[in-house]
C-alpha cells in the first residue's frame, strides 16, 4: 500500500541543541496515528516540519508520492494536509464565520459575499454546525473561550477536506464536554471522510482510544512504536 505521508531521516538542530535526529515515520491513507512524548522531546518541532512551518536540516517528507520537504504551510494545506495549533492565534478582527470562510475561500474559491449573514445554509454554516460553533458564528474570534478556539481550529482544518490532519495537542486543557465533542468529531472525520491523522498528545488513554498506532518520541528519536 502506498503511504500517504512518509518522512525519512528528519533531523533538526537549533544552534548547539539537536532537537530531532533520524526520524523516520509513515502514515497510511486513513490511518489514525498518535504521537506521544514528554515535554521537550521535540514533538512540536516534528509537527512544524511535517506541516511546513520549519525546514529540516536533513531528511525528506513525501506526501502522496510527491516530495514536499520544502513546501510551505499554505501549499500543504491546499494539498490536503491541515494542522491545528496548540495555542491558536485567532484573527482579532474577524468573526467565527469569517474565519472559516477564509479557509473555504482559498480552497474552493466559492463566491460567498458578505450578505450571507442572513443565510443559514452554506459550506461555512455546515462546518460550523459540525463543530458546534453555529450559534457563535457572528462572535469575534478574539472573544472565544479556549474550547471554542480549538473547535474553530478544527473547523478551519476540515475546510479543505483534508487527507491528513496534524493535531498538535488539540485536546490539552479542555473541559470534559469539549473533549468529548472534539473526540467525536475526530472519529467522524476519520471514519466518514477517510482523513488520516497524526494526533500529538501526552494523554495515553486518549491516544489509546483514538489511534490505531502510537509512536513514542523521546529526546528527538522515535523509540517505540505500538500497534493497537
Amino acid at each position: 500500500m502506498n503511504m500517504l505521508l512518509s518522512a525519512e531521516g528528519i533531523a533538526k538542530s537549533f544552534g548547539a541543541t539537536q532537537v530531532l535526529s533520524g526520524i523516520t515515520l509513515s502514515i497510511a491513507p486513513g490511518e489514525p496515528v498518535g504521537l506521544f512524548g514528554p515535554n521537550g522531546s521535540g514533538k512540536t518541532t516534528l509537527v512544524n516540519i511535517l506541516s511546513g512551518l520549519l525546514l529540516p536540516d536533513t531528511g525528506t517528507v513525501r506526501f502522496d508520492g510527491k516530495e514536499i520537504t520544502r513546501l510551505p504551510l499554505d501549499a500543504r494545506y491546499r494539498l490536503g494536509i491541515a494542522r491545528t495549533f496548540q495555542i491558536p492565534h485567532p484573527y482579532p478582527a474577524l468573526s467565527v464565520r469569517e474565519a472559516v470562510r477564509v479557509a473555504l475561500e482559498v480552497n474552493t474559491g466559492k463566491r460567498d459575499e458578505e450578505g450571507g449573514a442572513g443565510k443559514e445554509e452554506g459550506p461555512a454554516e455546515d462546518l460550523l454546525d459540525r463543530t458546534g460553533l453555529f450559534n457563535q458564528r457572528f462572535v469575534p474570534c478574539a472573544q472565544l473561550s479556549q474550547g471554542c478556539l480549538r473547535r474553530l481550529e478544527f473547523a478551519r482544518a476540515l475546510a479543505c477536506r483534508p487527507k491528513l490532519l496534524i493535531l498538535d495537542e488539540i485536546f490539552s486543557a479542555l473541559s470534559a464536554a469539549d473533549e468529548g465533542d472534539l473526540t467525536a468529531l475526530l472519529r467522524a472525520a476519520n471514519r466518514d471522510e477517510g482523513a488520516a491523522f497524526l494526533l500529538v498528545s501526552h494523554n495515553p488513554p486518549l491516544l489509546k482510544a483514538l489511534c490505531r498506532r502510537i509512536l513514542v518520541l523521546e529526546e528527538g528519536r522515535i523509540v517505540r512504536e505500538r500497534t493497537l
Binding site: K110, R130, N135, F138
Partner: protein
C-alpha cells in the same frame, strides 16, 4: 456589519450635502478646496486598502500617486498621447509599481515595510526633484520643483465641472474599494493582516495576497494621482513627497483604519479645514502631525473605531445568530460566555 444600514443613511446624507453645496454659490477658492479634497479622499481610501484592510503600513503611498501624475503629464505633454489613453496608462503603471512594492515588502514584518516604502518613495521624490525633462518645441526645461505640465484637451475647466467630476470620481472609486474590501479577496487580506500564521494554515499564499493589496491600493492611488495632475494642470515633485504619504496615513488613522469610509471622511474634513483656513503649508503639515499623534495616543481606532466602541458599549455585545434548526450536535456546546 450591523452598522451598515444606518451608516448608509449618513453616507447618503453626506453625499447629498456635497452635491448641493455648489448651489450656494461659494467662492471658486472653496470649490477648488473641495475638489482637491475629493481627490485626496480617494487617495486616503486607497491607502486604507493597503494599510487598513491588509495591515501593510506603507509610508510611501505617494509613490504610485506621483508616478501616475508624472506618467499622465509626460505622456500627454512629451509624447502627445490623448488624455484618456494617458490616464489609463498612468493607472496601469501605478498598479505595476504597486505590484513591485508589494513583492519587495511581502517577506518583511510591519515596521520594516514602513521603512522600505518610505525609502522607495523618497528615492522617487529625489529623482523627480533632480531631473529635468526637455520639452518639445518649447525649448525650456521642465522638471525639478516646477514639475511637468499636463496637456489638456480643454481650455479652462470651470470650477463647477471640476467639483462634480471629482466628486463622481470619489464616489465611484470609494464604492469600488468598498466592494473589494467586502469581497472574498478583501476578507483574506483582513485575515492576513490579523493573523498571518492562521491565514497560512488556512491555505492562504501570504506573499501573493500582500502583492495584491499593494497592486489594488496603488492602482486607485494612481487614479487619484492622475486626476489630481489633470485638475492642477501639472505633476510636481510634491506629488511624490513624504509629506503626502504621511497625510494618507494620517487620514486613515484619524478616520479609522480598515473602514475605507472613515479615511474618506477624515480626509475631507481635515483637508477642507486646514486648506480652507488658508494656513501656510508648513503649518498644515505640523497640524497633520499633531492630529495624528493625538489620534494614535488617545483614539487608536480612529474616529470610526471610537464611535463603534461607544455604540457597542451602549447597545450591548456582539450579535449571536439564530439557532441551527438541524442541530446535529447537542445544544449545550458552544454556549455560555467565554
Amino acid at each position: 456589519m450591523a452598522a451598515a444600514p444606518y451608516r448608509g443613511g449618513w453616507l447618503a446624507a453626506g453625499i447629498g450635502l456635497l452635491l448641493l453645496f455648489p448651489l450656494s454659490s461659494p467662492d471658486a477658492f472653496f470649490l477648488d478646496v473641495f475638489t482637491t479634497g475629493f481627490l485626496l479622499a480617494a487617495f486616503a481610501a486607497s491607502w486604507d486598502v493597503v494599510g487598513g484592510v491588509s495591515g501593510q503600513i506603507t509610508l510611501g503611498h505617494a509613490l504610485p500617486f506621483g508616478v501616475a501624475a508624472y506618467a499622465c503629464a509626460l505622456l500627454t505633454s512629451l509624447a502627445g498621447w490623448p488624455l484618456p489613453l494617458a490616464l489609463a496608462a498612468a493607472v496601469l503603471l501605478a498598479a505595476a509599481v504597486g505590484a513591485g512594492i508589494g513583492g519587495l515588502s511581502a517577506p518583511l514584518a510591519g515596521p520594516f515595510v514602513a521603512l522600505l516604502t518610505l525609502a522607495l518613495g523618497e528615492i522617487a521624490h529625489e529623482a523627480a526633484v533632480g531631473n529635468t525633462f526637455f520639452s518639445g518645441p518649447g525649448g525650456y526645461a521642465w522638471g525639478g520643483e516646477g514639475g511637468i505640465p499636463v496637456a489638456l484637451p480643454w481650455e479652462d475647466a470651470s470650477p463647477f465641472s471640476s467639483y462634480y467630476a471629482a466628486l463622481a470620481f470619489l464616489c465611484i472609486a470609494s464604492f469600488g474599494m468598498l466592494r473589494f474590501s467586502r469581497s472574498g479577496a478583501g476578507l483574506i487580506l483582513r485575515a492576513v493582516a490579523g493573523s498571518p500564521i492562521t491565514a497560512q494554515a488556512s491555505g492562504v499564499p501570504i506573499a501573493r495576497f500582500k502583492r495584491l493589496a499593494f497592486t489594488v491600493g496603488s492602482a486607485f492611488a494612481g487614479a487619484a494621482g492622475a486626476c489630481f495632475a489633470v485638475h492642477v494642470g501639472r505633476a510636481t515633485a510634491t506629488d511624490l513627497s513624504l509629506e503626502l504619504s504621511f497625510q494618507a496615513a494620517t487620514f486613515a488613522a484619524v478616520g479609522g483604519r480598515g473602514t475605507i469610509v472613515g479615511p474618506v471622511v477624515a480626509a475631507l474634513v481635515l483637508h477642507v479645514l486646514f486648506q480652507g483656513l488658508s494656513l501656510p503649508p508648513s503649518a498644515r503639515v505640523l497640524l497633520y502631525a499633531l492630529t495624528l499623534l493625538v489620534t494614535l495616543r488617545f483614539f487608536p481606532g480612529g474616529v470610526v473605531g471610537t464611535v463603534r466602541d461607544l455604540a457597542l458599549r451602549i447597545g450591548g455585545n456582539g450579535k449571536e445568530g439564530p439557532r441551527s434548526p438541524r442541530r446535529r450536535n447537542r445544544n449545550r456546546t458552544g454556549e455560555g460566555t467565554p
